[in-house]
């Protein structure tokens, strides 16, 4: 055993934890080695110094304090307690509180903000001109065109659907538009947004049909049958594209669209006892016709829709949704009032028919 080995064991030697043989060996070495004896004295002095540290007693209520802390339970509770007993620095506590409040405020206002954005977008859509296809006022297919289009429409339809039917951007090709409008996907995408939808429907009813070639009443039924046969898929996609132009969630089954142009003589007896002034006679006459027709529509169970834009609101126009079963009766009523021209009807099976009635004086 050399001096380093001896010095490694001096601690245990002083402690008396060595076995007897090692103890005697070290004791013998220390009698002859002054360096190791010096190390031993140094260690003894160090230990004496540390032993001067006096034992302290815990407070008398230590056990009760431990009980209290165990029973006070959750760390969260103690955290909040410590916030107020200043065991955590107030600055840190305040920072955490500010961050938490910030998150809470941000979370509270976020849905409001999104709702506001959504509302503004709807308002913007309502205010801006109709989407491109409607702006162009694609005519409702004429009889000839309807006969030509199915093949092209059928070819274009799947491709267009793959490109994203719900995109707000609409294809430029009129046939393709027509084909897309007629997609059978529309009924599946029905969503309830009554306010926006009714506005949109009114706009579509007003803007899309006007330039459509008006067909005579004669032969309407046979034409409808032909159209139904040739374009059963086209009409459904039509409603889809009309909806997709605004928002995908607006897509729903569109009613049939018919534009009726009523030509009336300038002076007609007024309904409901109105007595127009001579200067405004013509206008008042139209107004009274409008009221009369409106009342009749209501009697037939129709829902009168507001004209989409107040600036464009024209008293000579009525937009309404009428049960299909009452349509013939209403048409007969109009024919009694004057000459009626009826646009081509879209022919999907819907319960209601949307009428856009224009009253014109000759």
């Amino acid at each position: 055993m050399n001096c380093n080995d001896i010095r490694d064991l001096l601690d245990e030697y002083l402690e008396g934890s060595l076995d007897e043989q090692q103890h005697l060996l070290i004791k013998k070495h220390l009698q002859t080695c002054s360096g190791c004896s010096l190390k031993l004295a140094d260690l003894q002095a160090y230990k004496v110094r540390l032993d001067s540290l006096i034992e302290v007693s815990p407070p008398a209520d230590f056990l009760e304090q431990v009980h209290r802390r165990i029973e006070s339970g959750s760390g969260l509770k103690r955290f909040f307690q410590s916030c107020f007993t200043q065991k955590l620095p107030l600055r840190l506590t305040a920072t955490v509180a500010v961050v938490l409040i910030g998150f809470a405020i941000a979370r509270f206002y976020q849905p409001m903000h999104e709702a506001e954005q959504a509302y503004l977008q709807k308002e913007k859509r309502a205010a801006e001109p109709a989407p491109a296809a409607i702006e162009k006022q694609v005519p409702v297919p004429t009889k000839e065109k309807i006969r030509q289009s199915p093949a092209g429409a059928a070819r274009a339809l799947p491709e267009a659907q793959n490109q994203g039917v719900f995109s707000a951007k609409r294809p430029e090709n009129a046939d393709l538009q027509t084909a897309l409008k007629s997609s059978a996907v529309a009924p599946q995408m029905k969503a309830e947004q009554p306010k926006t939808t009714s506005k949109k429907k009114a706009r579509v009813a007003k803007k899309a049909p006007p330039r459509a070639p008006l067909l005579g009443l004669a032969g309407q039924e046979s034409l409808r049958e032909e159209e139904r046969a040739m374009h059963s898929e086209v009409t459904e996609a039509d409603s889809l594209m009309e909806s997709a132009a605004f928002a995908p969630q607006d897509v729903e089954q569109e009613p049939q669209l018919v534009t009726l142009t009523l030509k009336i003589p300038p002076i007609q007896p007024l309904a409901y006892g109105e007595e127009p002034a001579p200067v405004a006679q013509s206008k008042a006459g139209e107004t009274s016709y409008r009221q009369q027709i409106t009342r009749h529509l209501e009697n037939l169970g129709a829902r009168i829709l507001p004209l989409p834009d107040e600036k464009d609101a024209d008293e000579q126009e009525i937009v309404a949704e009428l049960p299909v079963k009452s349509y013939t009766a209403f048409l007969r009523h109009l024919q009694n009032l004057g000459d009626v021209k009826e646009s081509a009807r879209t022919t999907q099976d819907t319960d209601t028919i949307r009428l856009h009635i224009k009253i014109k004086t000759r």
């Binding site: 160090y46 540290l53 006096i54 431990v66 065991k87």
Partner: protein, 201 residues
């Protein structure tokens, strides 16, 4: 429970039995463990933290943690070893906490000496004259400050070996290190401490 009537020493087997009973919900068994070890744990925390209030808080936290972790005590080591391990880790965490460091910094800035408040708490001071008392307190404070200034690993082994007189093997178990590592850390810690204390009377 009247602590005067409870013995404050126990064998590892007794501790183990009490710990098992406490695990099963015997609160009196746990109280006996607290009473047995509160002085040693408290002093360990006091040496480590260097402040009576911090020692009180840390020692209480040690027993609370022990109570909540009794289920994980596997009885493959002595209860005291397991308890001291919790105490050391609690002291380390406490000292490393931002709150503790800021508080110490503020005490230094204001010139307050936390130990001054606790001078009268020491047990059995046999000194007679006020001058001797004062000198001894200065020496004790100097030793405490010197220990507190040691690196964390060296401070831990110095406290456990030279103050708490624990054997190397138990220190190794508490710190999850080999006894050889404990010895080398202790040697470095002692050298530094002697250097700091050599000017003391």
């Amino acid at each position: 429970m009247n602590r005067e009537n409870v013995k404050t020493t126990s064998t590892p087997d007794e501790d183990s039995t009490l710990a098992r009973a406490a695990t099963k919900g015997d609160k009196h068994a746990f109280d006996r463990l607290v009473i047995t070890y509160r002085n040693r744990v408290f002093n360990l925390c006091y040496r480590y933290m260097g402040d009576y209030d911090d020692a009180d808080d840390t020692a209480q936290e040690t027993f609370v943690k022990a109570y909540k972790s009794l289920g994980s005590f596997r009885h493959d080591a002595a209860f005291s070893t397991w308890l001291f391990r919790i105490a050391v880790n609690t002291c380390k965490n406490k000292q490393q906490s931002l709150a503790y460091r800021i508080r110490k910094k503020m005490l230094r800035i204001t010139g307050a000496k936390s130990n001054d408040e606790n001078e009268g708490i020491d047990i059995a001071d046999d000194s007679r004259s006020p001058q001797t008392v004062s000198e001894r307190r200065e020496v004790r404070d100097a030793i405490m400050n010197a220990i507190a200034a040691l690196p964390d690993e060296q401070k831990t082994v110095v406290i456990l070996r030279d103050i708490e007189k624990l054997p190397y093997e138990e220190i190794g178990s508490i710190l999850n290190t080999a006894p050889g590592t404990v010895k080398s850390r202790l040697a470095r810690g002692r050298t530094k401490l002697k250097e700091k204390l050599k000017n003391l009377v």
